[in-house]
């Protein structure tokens, strides 16, 4: 049984199509994160699952029941909104009880449910407060509590952490993950923050321009991005991409040849994008690396490591380096060494990853 299944889901506003036929299966108890830049259709997709937007075409099933034309309240899903949408005129307990009262749950059951959830979320002492008297993190918890009390089949999260400051966001992110482990409810989570996506997801769905670019576990997507968009979206900073041409033994970037694992011979002469993650380069030559001369223009220390902003030909590049050595010595760096087995090759025209034979 699948938790949520989208097949050929399309959304149009008048003549403008914003979601172009999405296929996605979310397994039961799975935590799937939809990630992508603003306007990529991820929120619209989530809202279609919630029932807040009509589905133009395609089929949506929740627990194997087609729900295209079923009202949100009958879909057995709960949603956490970006702006929390807590009812300001009700206190925390009443906010959480709102849905239960509408569903005519008996009073004593409501009370025990609310008390249990408040306990889980650490809200017990705030039950009598109004949303205005709570901090951002507490409001966020109430919004989650309101979703949890209903024991829905699916949780939907619409950028729930984007209104919190950085520190609180890290903390709440961990809380959401713990909560999911504890409750094991199928969850679909929308964010534009790739760090949230990487840390929370069982599987990530990268979206762009109303379509899915790639689906996979965080590490699959990180290690084997299927195209330049995914490569450039995940990772912080994202993968460096340089224009180049394949040769018999590697790839020519400017006038420098970079060694690549795999048989490049059959593709020799092809225009490609050469990708290398910032953290994969070394500052000293090692076995299987090729040197790449760079013009360093900025060193950003981050504490345990530093970001090196550099140029090679027309390409702007960023590399990560350890700072165990003297940070001042980094300003003298004029080349980095690229390990052949970590280089990714993409077709220059389509942006798709090239699979090279052995």
């Amino acid at each position: 049984m699948s938790g949520v299944n989208l097949s050929g889901i399309v959304k149009s506003y008048g003549a403008m199509q914003v979601v172009h036929g999405i296929d996605l299966t979310v397994a039961e108890k799975e935590f799937v994160v939809l990630v992508g830049p603003s306007g990529c259709g991820k929120s619209t997709t989530l809202r279609m699952i919630a029932g807040l937007e009509e589905i133009t075409a395609g089929d949506l099933t929740i627990h194997d029941r087609r729900v295209n034309r079923i009202a949100p309240k009958d879909r057995d899903v709960a949603m956490v909104f970006q702006n929390y949408a807590l009812y300001p005129h009700l206190n925390v307990a009443d906010n959480m009880a709102f849905g239960l009262r509408i569903r005519k749950m008996p009073k004593n059951e409501i009370k025990t449910t609310i008390d249990d959830v408040a306990e889980i979320l650490g809200l017990t002492e705030y039950l009598d407060r109004r949303p205005a008297d709570l901090s951002g993190g507490q409001r966020q918890r109430v919004a989650m509590g309101r979703a949890i009390v209903r024991h829905p089949k699916v949780f939907l999260f619409d950028e729930p952490l984007s209104n919190l400051d950085a520190k609180l966001r890290t903390q709440m992110r961990a809380e959401i993950k713990r909560l999911h482990k504890r409750l094991g409810v199928t969850s679909v989570y929308v964010t534009h923050d790739q760090v949230e996506a990487m840390t929370l997801a069982d599987r990530i769905v990268v979206m762009n321009n109303g379509a899915i670019e790639q689906i996979g576990t965080p590490m699959e997507l990180f290690n084997n991005p299927s195209n330049t968009f995914v490569a450039g979206f995940l990772g912080s900073p994202p993968m460096n991409q340089m224009k180049g041409t394949l040769t018999d033994s590697g790839a020519l970037v400017g006038d420098v040849e970079i060694k690549i694992n795999g048989a490049t011979g059959p593709h020799a002469g092809r225009n490609v994008i050469v990708g290398i993650r910032p953290e994969h380069v070394t500052l000293t030559a090692e076995e299987g690396t090729s040197p790449l001369p760079i013009n360093l223009d900025l060193v950003e220390p981050l504490g345990s490591e530093a970001l090196l902003h550099a140029r090679h030909g027309e390409d702007n590049l960023v590399f990560k380096a350890n700072t165990e050595n003297d940070i001042d010595s980094l300003s003298g760096v004029n080349k980095v060494h690229i390990p052949a087995h970590l280089v990714k090759i993409f077709d220059a025209d389509t942006g798709k990853a090239l699979v090279l034979g052995d």
Binding site: N83, A85, L86, A132
Partner: protein
């Protein structure tokens, strides 16, 4: 607290001008009240002679004694309460759902309906067609006619619609996810969140109904159905050309002026009493804290 030192010369001048204007305005609105109250407690002679300025002259409650003994005063007083309470409730029953529907983006033909409502603010059929319409509906000389005929008011609908529109969409969506239908969204979320706006239009409605005079005079004939304002008008016209009354009043110590003033004072009191109760809803920032933009 004004921190005068932080104000520039221009600011100080501006603050003084504003204070003076507000002061003048306050006097201009407050003085008629004080004057009418003073007249109502003065003797008939003093009032007729125009001696009353600020405080009662030859203080007496004779005028009140005269009107409170008049059964027609009590009947019309009761009628005014019926029109005010009934009319306000009737209006809210129409205006709130109407404003809510017009505020929803999913309403088909929303622009048309909005235009349709707003249209009546600038153009209406006019006195005689409206009168004929009421006559044909059998609503002449009918208390229900007065309540129903003026239940809908475009200005209040638009006022409330705008307020509903300013409530973030996510409240409605959250309530829908929580299982609420349209009526529950309106009743449990939008109305509680709109207390200040609803209090405002309620006050408008109460005052308009309470002071409603013209249409009541045109549409009602029976003495048993007229509201206080029409009774006041009758009293003024009756007393001023009633020779017999002129003799009675000389002996009793009141006059047409003081009786009129006493009726006005009596008619103002309930509105003055209601206002503080409604005023507490004019609180700001009821939406604070629920959403974070």
């Amino acid at each position: 607290m004004m921190k005068w030192n932080l104000y520039s010369r221009g600011d100080k001048f501006f603050a003084i001008v504003v204070s003076v204007l507000i002061g003048l305005f306050t006097v201009a609105t407050l003085y008629p009240f004080i004057y009418i109250a003073a007249v109502s407690f003065s003797s008939g002679f003093a009032a007729q002679a125009g001696k009353v300025v600020l405080t009662p002259i030859d203080a007496t409650i004779e005028a009140y004694g005269y009107i409170l003994k008049d059964p027609q005063f009590w009947i019309s007083y009761r009628n005014t309460f019926i029109y005010t309470i009934g009319g306000t409730i009737m209006s809210l029953m129409f205006i709130i759902p109407c404003a809510y529907a017009l505020s929803r983006p999913q309403l088909k033909g929303r622009r048309f309906f909005n235009l349709f409502i707003a249209f009546t603010m600038w153009f209406n059929a006019g006195l005689i067609p409206f009168f004929l319409n009421m006559r044909d509906l059998g609503l002449l000389d009918s208390m229900f006619g007065i309540i129903l005929g003026f239940a809908i008011n475009a200005f209040n609908i638009i006022l409330l619609r705008n307020f509903f529109e300013s409530i973030p969409q996510s409240f409605e969506e959250a309530a829908r996810m929580d299982g609420a239908n349209d009526f529950q969204v309106l009743w449990k979320v939008f109305i509680p969140l709109s207390k200040p706006a609803i209090a405002t239009i309620t006050l408008f409605l109460i005052v308009a109904r309470w002071n409603g005079f013209f249409w009541a005079m045109v549409l009602l004939q029976s003495e048993s159905k007229i509201p206080l304002q029409v009774f006041l008008r009758h009293t003024i016209s009756n007393l001023s050309d009633d020779d017999e009354f002129a003799i009675v009043q000389t002996a009793a110590g009141f006059s047409a002026e003081t009786v009129t003033a006493a009726i006005i004072v009596c008619s103002i009191i309930p509105v003055l009493i209601v206002y503080p109760f409604i005023q507490k809803y004019f609180e700001k920032g009821i939406l604070l804290g629920g959403v974070k933009e």
